[in-house]
């Protein structure tokens, strides 16, 4: 008791007050931060009543250009009946003319007789038919890779393949003119996207160098960040070929993997139709993944990816469009297999197709007001306005007039369609022209002639 009594009075009083304060704090209720101004039940009900959401969909005017589809009566083959009018088809991606090939139809019919139409399950649950396994084998052998995997929808192929490998934190270098399916795949993957100018290898190298410098700052992170370069063999939006040899050089220099999307170039480029790798003479092992859809040259539905087993096998458990979706109907798989047979049996059609492409390319040069966008090898190219009117709507209207007039003269054409608000780099409006093996030389001449006349009439 001596130290307590020895202390001065004010000291004791202060300490006493402090102790009482501590006791009070210990026993008082915790102070809740009232982040929400406490609303009464009545106010809440009023808020609920007052709130008006936007309508689920904004109204669409009746004459929106995209609302009135061209209705095709009958098969969409070479001679097509559009909106009641007979035309020559320059709009469907039927490059090898296999859409109405009798052998393909017979193979599909045999499959229909044996298996019916649907597969009633995903691949994991009794949806794997021997037809699928055969088709995967054939595709792998044709493309000279170890393994191939089939998807039941062309769009879903690349859109499921990219997110299976590239996750959050990985880096993907992609061309600006990449198609929408690739963009959706990249969005689903949540990786860092770096766009490089279309077909511009110096721009890509610049981006890769920048990334290398970043890596040197943080080597631990760099060791687990995967890098990918995504390119298309033949770009759908511009009709140009990607410079694959330079891409492969950059791949080994900067250690990035290449994913190639060959929807337009499979069955078109190369001596045997194996695509852009054969066209440039590059070993297919240098490309990590090739993805293509079977809806263009193979005249079926669906898509496939091929590459080494090390890469492809992963998609069997993590490709969303593969695991969680019903498998391809067997009749479509049988049709694709027969189409592949036909491709292997006459490799001469590829050079015939190339000839026709070159021919119409030349014939369409020098149209007043329209310029040809795309290489002479590409069977799907664009006709854009030489001088834009300034507003995209007006451009679209002008081009639609040209298309309508051409249709009146029995040439079926279409404008290239995009979702204007969703595309990352929206291409300018254009008319899509597609060359197929079935078009005769007279028809090609007539088409070029018609387009020239119509363009002159409309644009001048």
């Amino acid at each position: 008791m001596r130290p307590v009594q020895a202390a001065p009075a004010y000291h004791l009083i202060l300490e006493g007050i402090l102790i009482l304060w501590i006791i009070r704090l210990l026993f008082s209720k915790t102070y809740k931060l009232q982040e929400r101004s406490d609303l009464t039940v009545k106010e809440k009900e009023e808020l609920i009543e007052e709130w008006q959401p936007e309508p689920l969909v904004p109204p669409i005017s009746k004459d929106h250009p995209a609302l009135n589809y061209n209705i095709v009566s009958g098969p969409p083959s070479h001679n097509i009946v559009v909106n009641g009018k007979k035309c020559v088809n320059f709009a469907s991606f039927n490059f090898l003319g296999l859409l109405d090939n009798p052998r393909v139809k017979a193979a599909a019919l045999a499959s229909l007789k044996k298996y019916g139409v649907g597969t009633c399950g995903p691949r994991g649950f009794y949806g794997t038919f021997d037809v699928h396994l055969d088709l995967e084998d054939r595709l792998a052998k044709f493309m000279k890779t170890e393994e191939a995997i089939i998807y039941s929808y062309g769009f879903a192929t690349i859109a499921s393949a990219i997110p299976a490998y590239s996750k959050r934190g990985d880096i993907v270098f992609v061309d600006r003119a990449a198609c929408f399916a690739i963009q959706k795949g990249l969005q689903a993957s949540r990786s860092d996207i770096k766009l490089f100018k279309h077909n511009d290898m110096t721009d890509l190298e610049r981006l890769l160098k920048e990334q290398e410098m970043e890596d040197q700052k943080n080597p631990r992170k760099a060791r687990v960040t995967r890098r990918f370069i995504v390119a298309e063999g033949l770009y759908m939006n511009t009709g140009t070929i990607c410079p694959l040899p330079e891409l492969v050089k950059l791949k080994y220099k900067y250690k990035a993997r290449i994913f190639l999307e060959e929807s337009l170039s499979f069955g078109v480029l190369g001596e045997h139709g194996r695509g852009v790798t054969e066209h440039f003479g590059i070993s297919i092992d240098d490309i990590d993944l090739i993805s293509a859809n079977m809806e263009n040259s193979l005249a079926s539905i669906g898509g496939f990816c091929c590459g080494r087993s090390f890469v492809i096998d992963h998609q069997r458990l993590s490709g969303q469009g593969y695991c969680f979706s019903a498998s391809l109907p067997p009749l479509l798989a049988a049709a694709a297999m027969e189409a592949l047979n036909i491709m292997e049996e006459n490799p001469g059609i590829f050079s015939v197709l190339k000839e026709k492409c070159k021919r119409i390319h030349k014939a369409l040069q020098g149209i007043s007001g329209l310029k040809v966008v795309g290489e002479s090898l590409s069977p799907a190219f664009h006709l854009q306005l030489k001088d834009s009117t300034g507003s995209r709507e007006k451009d679209v209207k002008l081009l639609q007039e040209i298309v309508n007039h051409c249709m009146d003269r029995s040439i079926a054409l279409t404008q290239a369609r995009y979702l204007e608000k969703e595309e990352k780099c929206l291409p300018p409006p254009s008319i899509r022209v597609v060359v197929t093996v079935e078009q005769t030389d007279e028809e090609l001449e007539r088409a070029a002639h018609t387009i020239k006349e119509v363009a002159q009439a409309v644009l001048l």
């Binding site: 995209a66 109405d100 009633c120 399950g121 396994l133 859809n293 069997r316 969303q320 979706s325």
Partner: protein
């Protein structure tokens, strides 16, 4: 507007979704409450069909052994990895190219741990190839593995006439060719197979128009649009409907396509507990009252994403409550009827008909044609404004190929068959047969003492197996007895709840179901799968449906 006390949703007697404890005194069916829905437009509409669902919890020792099993598997996995990395055990997996060995590895080692060490051991139960139509019986190709499931080879033998309890063939319309499919053959010969263009460009055929009109008629809505793939229908149209600044309320157990579509849309996603209306209501109230987080602006719109039948649980959506909630809080409802279209409802029109509601109450009706119609593809149906908007703005319409003509014709043919437009009542009979088969199968399984999840009337029946080893044994033994079942484990289900999933079909005859049930009984005794602790009813003759008329 009604006040919350006597409001649109009577929460007092709401079906309580929590797993039941084993002390329940009732018999096979657990009736959990009567549901009422008060219409807002004045006409009283009472739905008082009891929702009978059960999600029984397993006894404790089962869970302990399950986790022990996984633990043991993991330990051995580490051991194996160690042996493989030191070269003592041969490594059978594919490896990276020599030239690319210094690239950043494509797969993280840990990501594949489960695949490498647990899945590979039992992976012969999945991806089983078949070589006939997936009808009520099919032919399975025999495969064996010489290196513990790393690679397979076909022996060349075909196991014929295996009873199919795994394919989604609810109405038995997936069968090999017969005369009724003549129109499909004609369309194939006339139109070919591919379309090679998108809907906006040159890919809209008259067949698509015909199909869309028929779908709209079938569902009793204003308009419909069809797409080539069911998965893509969700992942490409949800982003067209909602965007940034909108709110998506999605069920816990939604399918991967719904989750992907929601993510791609850029909207904020909030999850509510599976089929739990209180959880949903709380989220709705918070969303409407407090608005967007941080900026406090109101949400532009709220979309509720649910499914008609959940394929892994077998539960049916509680539609009346959701419709009442959505009307009260002015949200929009999107139902994915992939499994429920054609398989529930007195005439097979899906969950909306099952509960007797008006299809106009649901804003977006989505479904697929793979399951009940024996084809492929998906549709979205609803009001004409919605479908017109999707025709212009759907990603699929602009960038993806349209549906193949023979597949479209198969759907047309199946739909006409179900609707009775082909002149017979066989379609309706099949729907009824499916309902009978479902009830019979579920009732017998319950009697035997298995734990079954889901609603009494759902044709998707998950039978709980829990332990990973039993999963493999179950599937292998049943294949030896010529019954093909689907087993599912992690990651499609929670880790400890591996299950076998039966899909009943109208094409299953009573004999087939009895054969399967006998074998299941034996398997249940052999593998000790009869975990259920519900006591069987003392009056079994009351449950025997063969002796009195059922009122549908």
């Amino acid at each position: 507007m009604a006040n919350p006390g006597g409001g649109a949703v009577c929460n007092g007697n709401l079906h309580n979704h929590e797993k039941q404890s084993d002390g329940s005194p009732s018999g096979n069916c657990a009736k959990n409450g009567i549901v009422r829905e008060a219409q807002q437009n004045g006409k009283p509409h009472f739905y008082d069909k009891p929702i009978a669902e059960s999600f029984e919890e397993a006894p404790l020792h089962v869970m302990v052994f399950t986790y022990l099993g996984y633990g043991l598997g993991t330990l051995f996995g580490y051991l194996r990895d160690f042996l493989r990395s030191w070269g003592i055990e041969k490594c059978n997996a594919a490896v990276e190219r020599e030239e690319q060995k210094d690239f950043v590895p494509l797969y993280q080692n840990f990501e594949n741990f489960y695949t490498r060490n647990l899945y590979i051991r039992i992976r012969d139960n999945w991806n089983r190839p078949i070589c006939s139509a997936p009808g009520s019986r099919f032919d399975v190709m025999e495969r064996v593995s010489d290196d513990y499931n790393w690679t397979f080879r076909f022996t060349g033998r075909i196991i014929k006439d295996v009873i199919n309890m795994g394919s989604y063939n609810f109405l038995g319309l997936a069968a090999s060719y017969d005369e009724s499919m003549r129109t499909v053959k004609d369309v194939l010969e006339e139109y070919g197979l591919g379309v090679a263009s998108t809907r906006h460009e040159m890919g809209t055929l008259d067949k698509h128009e015909e199909l869309e009109n028929l779908v709209a008629k079938f569902l009793n809505v204003e308009a419909a649009m069809v797409f080539g793939m069911g998965f893509a229908t969700n992942s490409m149209n949800i982003p067209a409907l909602v965007g940034k600044g909108c709110l998506i309320l999605s069920d816990e157990l939604n399918h991967a396509s719904l989750v992907l579509g929601a993510r791609l849309s850029g909207a904020t996603i909030r999850i509510f507990k599976h089929n739990n209306m209180q959880s949903l209501e709380k989220l709705l109230r918070d969303a409407v009252i407090y608005g967007q987080p941080r900026v406090r602006r109101a949400w532009k719109k709220i979309l509720i994403l649910v499914e008609g039948i959940y394929s892994m649980e077998g539960s049916i959506l509680h539609l009346p409550q959701i419709v009442a909630l959505k009307k009260k809080y002015k949200a929009y409802l999107y139902i994915d009827e992939a499994h429920s279209i054609g398989s529930v409802g007195p005439t097979g029109r899906g969950v909306v008909e099952f509960f007797g509601l008006d299809p106009r109450d649901v804003d977006v009706l989505m479904g697929t044609f793979t399951k009940s119609f024996g084809a492929a593809g998906g549709y979205i149906a609803g009001r004409k404004e919605l479908v017109d908007y999707l025709r212009v703005h759907s990603h699929s319409a602009v960038y993806a190929t349209s549906m193949s003509p023979p597949v479209a014709e198969q759907i047309i043919r199946s739909m006409k068959f179900i609707m009775g437009l082909d002149g017979t009542t066989e379609g309706l009979q099949r729907v009824r047969q499916l309902a009978k088969n479902t009830r019979y199968f579920r009732q017998r399984l319950n009697e035997m003492g298995f734990i079954i999840y889901g609603n009494e009337e759902s044709p998707v029946i998950p039978l709980l197996l829990y332990m990973p080893a039993k999963v493999a044994a179950f599937a292998r033994h049943l294949l030896n007895r010529k019954i093909g079942v689907v087993v599912v484990g992690f990651p499609a289900t929670p880790l400890a709840e591996a299950r076998a999933r039966f899909c009943i079909s109208a094409a299953h005859t009573r004999e087939m179901l009895d054969t399967v049930l006998e074998n299941l009984d034996e398997m249940g005794d052999l593998l000790q799968l009869k975990y259920s602790r519900h006591r069987k009813s003392a009056r079994p003759e009351l449950y025997d449906e063969t002796s009195f008329e059922l009122d549908d």
